[in-house]
């Protein structure tokens, strides 16, 4: 085994795939994701950032390669992200839900007030991805300006309103006729994780009464909701009533650990009190995560058991356990998301990153997991597919790179497994949060608004007007 050559990650080929996704419209295959364009945008920009060294490496002839996204284009793309801001806080998930500005105003002329129900819906998932994109697209010279234009106070207030009585979070807030405000979206651990992420990114450490203070959501209720969603076999489900799922396990661990993650110089696997003393059965959780490893056998190797059902294509069972202990069967390790399901690229990430967040990445072997991704899931044109032989898609291609980066793949930027961003970008979040808070502290709301407007203008033009410089701005 040792003399076999390990596969290598073809970085230029992956970049080529992502360049295609960046430059040309996505095929109509993605139509069902039309409501979640912000997520697709995150997959594209995050992957390009993971693949691009922060310090450009000179070519053999000494020239510096030009970045895939030039600074001017980064500013334009930031504007696109900012155009999804919702007047009530948060971001909309897609451009088709951004309305002409007058559409947001609903004045009752009798009382002279706005009904407060704005059109379109800010979406919790889109809001996290938009904040991450603003950081990923921030100016390398002034990363602390990443959150310029973000209405931190409104967004955090809106976030609190998405929390249900049981502590969980929904994805959207909508006024339904005869029903009042309705928190939409299922009971889904993803929204809990996203709420904890947005809170960590934006809230900061402000005491009550100080400028920029916003009432926190009920973190105790959120933690309690998550903790009570652990299942009898140690995993985590969307709620206490359901089947455990690797994506939800990642979200449960990530959310708990983000609730008390330090605001500066923090790492994904910081010793979180809420996580470590909160989870009722930690050995059970680790057992469940370790059980997601999946011995990938080539179809046809055991023809008797081969099932042509699509869901079973790489779920080949050995004739007996003794067969599995043969050396050649240890070559590829995939991960599944639920017991008795098949391997899928994204679960290499959800499980691998969940273990990394627990500081337990050493419990799984990296080499066979890496081989599985590079030899079975990687596609000729770059990117990763869902299952062996599948064409690549944005979601699997992004999370394939993410887990390789967590496993320390050479040539990829180091990744924070709790925030799914390069560590360098997490440092930028910390700086940008500080800058956002100090602006609010200095100016109060009115000053902040004025400064934000100037900030947006500067972002667009990338230059300070003479009068502002003269005024000492």
């Amino acid at each position: 085994m040792a003399d076999e050559v390990e596969p290598s990650l073809d970085i230029p080929r992956h970049l080529k795939y992502w360049k295609m996704c960046l430059r040309s419209p996505l095929p109509s295959l993605y139509q069902s994701n039309e409501g979640n364009r912000m997520a697709l945008a995150y997959f594209i920009i995050n992957s390009i950032t993971i693949l691009t060294p922060f310090q450009p490496v000179p070519r053999a002839d000494g020239t510096i390669p030009t970045p895939l996204i030039a600074p001017g284009e980064r500013r334009q793309l930031r504007e696109w992200v900012l155009s999804h801001r919702h007047p009530s806080g948060g971001f909309s998930g897609t451009s088709s839900l951004v309305f002409p500005l007058h559409g947001y105003e609903e004045w009752d002329f009798e009382t002279g007030t706005s009904s407060r129900e704005h059109l379109g819906l800010a979406n919790i998932t889109a809001t996290l991805f938009a904040l991450q994109l603003l950081v990923l697209l921030s100016d390398d010279e002034t990363p602390e300006a990443a959150f310029r234009g973000v209405d931190r106070v409104q967004t955090l207030r809106w976030l609190s309103r998405l929390q249900r009585e049981d502590g969980s979070f929904g994805e959207v807030l909508k006024m339904l006729p005869d029903h009042g405000w309705f928190i939409g979206g299922g009971y889904d651990m993803r929204y809990c994780y996203i709420a904890a992420s947005i809170r960590w990114i934006l809230r900061g450490d402000v005491n009550e009464g100080e400028p920029g203070w916003v009432e926190d959501f009920d973190t105790g209720a959120l933690a309690q909701y998550i903790i009570s969603s652990q299942t009898y076999d140690g995993g985590f489900a969307g709620s206490s009533k359901e089947e455990p799922h690797a994506g939800y396990a990642y979200c449960a661990i990530g959310a708990l650990s983000l609730l008390d993650r330090p605001l500066e110089d923090s790492s994904a696997s910081h010793p979180s009190k809420i996580l470590n003393s909160g989870i009722r059965n930690m050995p059970g959780l680790i057992h469940w995560l370790a059980s997601r490893q999946f011995n990938y056998l080539e179809p046809g190797q055991h023809d008797d058991d081969y099932d042509s059902d699509e869901d079973e294509v790489n779920f080949v069972l050995p004739r007996s356990l003794a067969d599995l202990s043969l050396e050649k069967n240890q070559r590829y390790i995939g991960y599944n998301g639920r017991c008795n399901k098949v391997a899928d690229t994204c679960y290499s990430w959800w499980v691998g990153a969940a273990l990394a967040n627990l500081g337990r990445e050493g419990l799984v072997e990296h080499a066979p997991a890496r081989r599985f991704l590079l030899e079975k899931m990687q596609h000729r044109i770059g990117g990763f597919g869902k299952k062996p032989g599948n064409p690549p898609d944005l979601y699997h291609a992004c999370f394939g790179l993410c887990i390789l980066a967590v496993m320390g793949e050479e040539g990829l930027n180091q990744l924070d497994s709790a925030l799914a961003l390069p560590v360098e970008m997490v440092r930028r979040i910390e700086k940008a949060r500080t800058a956002l808070l100090s602006r609010e502290g200095e100016n109060g709301t009115a000053g902040r608004l004025a400064k934000d407007i100037v900030g947006i203008g500067l972002g667009l033009r990338d230059e300070k007007p003479g009068w502002l410089t003269a005024a000492g701005g």
């Binding site: 996704c21 419209p25 996505l26 095929p27 109509s28 993605y30 139509q31 994701n33 039309e34 409501g35 364009r37 945008a41 594209i44 334009q76 504007e79 696109w80 992200v81 155009s83 088709s96 309305f99 002409p100 059109l119 819906l121 994805e171 959207v172 909508k174 339904l176 005869d178 029903h179 309705f182 939409g184 299922g186 009971y187 903790i227 009898y232 076999d233 489900a237 969307g238 206490s240 009533k241 359901e242 089947e243 009722r280 680790i286 370790a290 490893q293 069972l317 356990l321 003794a322 599995l324 202990s325 240890q330 390790i333 639920r338 017991c339 008795n340 337990r360 050493g362 072997e365 066979p368």
Partner: protein, 532 residues
Amino acid sequence: MPPKSKAAPKPKGADSSKQPTLTPSTSNTTPAVPATVAARSQLRYDDSRPHDAARLKAGLTGLPRDEQAAWISARFARTPAARTRLPPKAQRELWRQVNEASLPVRALRGGTKGSSWGRDRNGLDVGGYSVERFDEREARRARLTCLEVASRGFRERRERERKGLRDPATGEAVFVSEGEVDAERVRRGEMADLRRELYGTVQGSFALDPEWDDVIPIPQDEPEAALAAIAYPADYDEAISYLRAVMLKKEYSQRCLRLTETIIEMNPAHYTVWLYRASNVFALKLPIADELEWLNQVAFANLKNYQIWHHRHLLVDNLYPALAEKPDELARFAAAERDFLTQILVQDTKNYHVWSYRSYLVGKLGVWGSPEELKSIEGLIDDDVRNNSAWSHRFFLVFSDPAHTTPGLVATEPDPAVPQDITSREVEYAKEKISLAPQNQSPWNYLKGVLVKGRQKLSSVEEFTGGFVKGLGNKDGSEDVQSTHALDLLAEIYAEKGDKEKADLCLRRLGEKWDRIRVGYWEWRRKCLEEA
């Protein structure tokens, strides 16, 4: 004005013989038949300027003398500014020559070189059409214009009706009948066909439907630099632009309901459309049962979609208060939902969203103890003993039933309220299923979960578990393990009994031989055991 003027230039047989390229016929009697409409125009142009084409080629001095004279006469005849400067005598001479030679006194302007006939829907130059084909096209264009005029008339009448204005001709109130609307629908269909045939333009179905005339669609306005734009079809784009318009108006109506249906058919994952649909259902106070019935069909067509299940959840939340007062109806509803879920799960046995909805429904309707529900789950496990979704649901059914459990406990916590007979029943059930497929982890997880919940010692299943492991640690090749999960549980049983050495042997053999892909995990367990 000349004394005798000819209304139109006549083609001259003798002259046209000098124009070899454009006139196929040189006969004196039959007029030339152009192959295309562009050629016909060229012919007409040349006929109105005798000898001009030849002059351009050879120069004036290169023409025979009589042709030179004719060209000059024609030129003067059609240029009054030059002509009037001639002395009267010369003018008379000019008209004489013009009459004798039947020269045209007017010329077609502009030439045909740069003129554009436009292109048809296939990108072909219309100038290349034959005369017959061109006439046919023109007839269609005329037909389209007539229809457009009629259609505008319809829209105006509609507008008057809406505003309560009177017909200016008759002074009567305007009333647009159903028949007129139907006729307009037919008319627009024909107009759309004509536009497609003539210009290749495709019109969306909403623009064609008179029902949507009062809505001005709001197309998306996207900056040049945008991320993740999707090349979706034009009809989706059109539908979304109408959705934006009605959302902006906050309109709730039957047509909005149909609009959401159209969009859901194209993209069932659009959560906003679902919420807007729910708003319509509630605002119009539509029967929730009808909406559920509609939803059933959508669910079958979109098995992997989960917005459908959120919508269903919301509908049932709203239906429940009325059901709760009538136990019979509640039971009927529970049975109907179970039947529906059974049908769905036959097609997709591990669909997470369906199972989530199912557990929600059990809680909402309070049917934990329903023998039918338990039987239905047993059927699914009988079909596929590896269906972990079904195992999870069974655990929820049995151990979240408020009739015999403590509310608020986490699933991994022991519950003193669970009766012994239920624990025993579930232990036996798990054991039976393990025997069918010992390497199936689902019932092993279930077994351990039941023992913990029911406060039973793990060692109560030591004998059963040990049955899957033979000669552990033997170096003579007699060691045989039928189930790594049994070996895993044995390690815990030995640890529970305080027999660290045996527990360690189980874990070591798992990492060394029987479950090598998890060697890191088993080694960690050994370390934990040592430290315990």
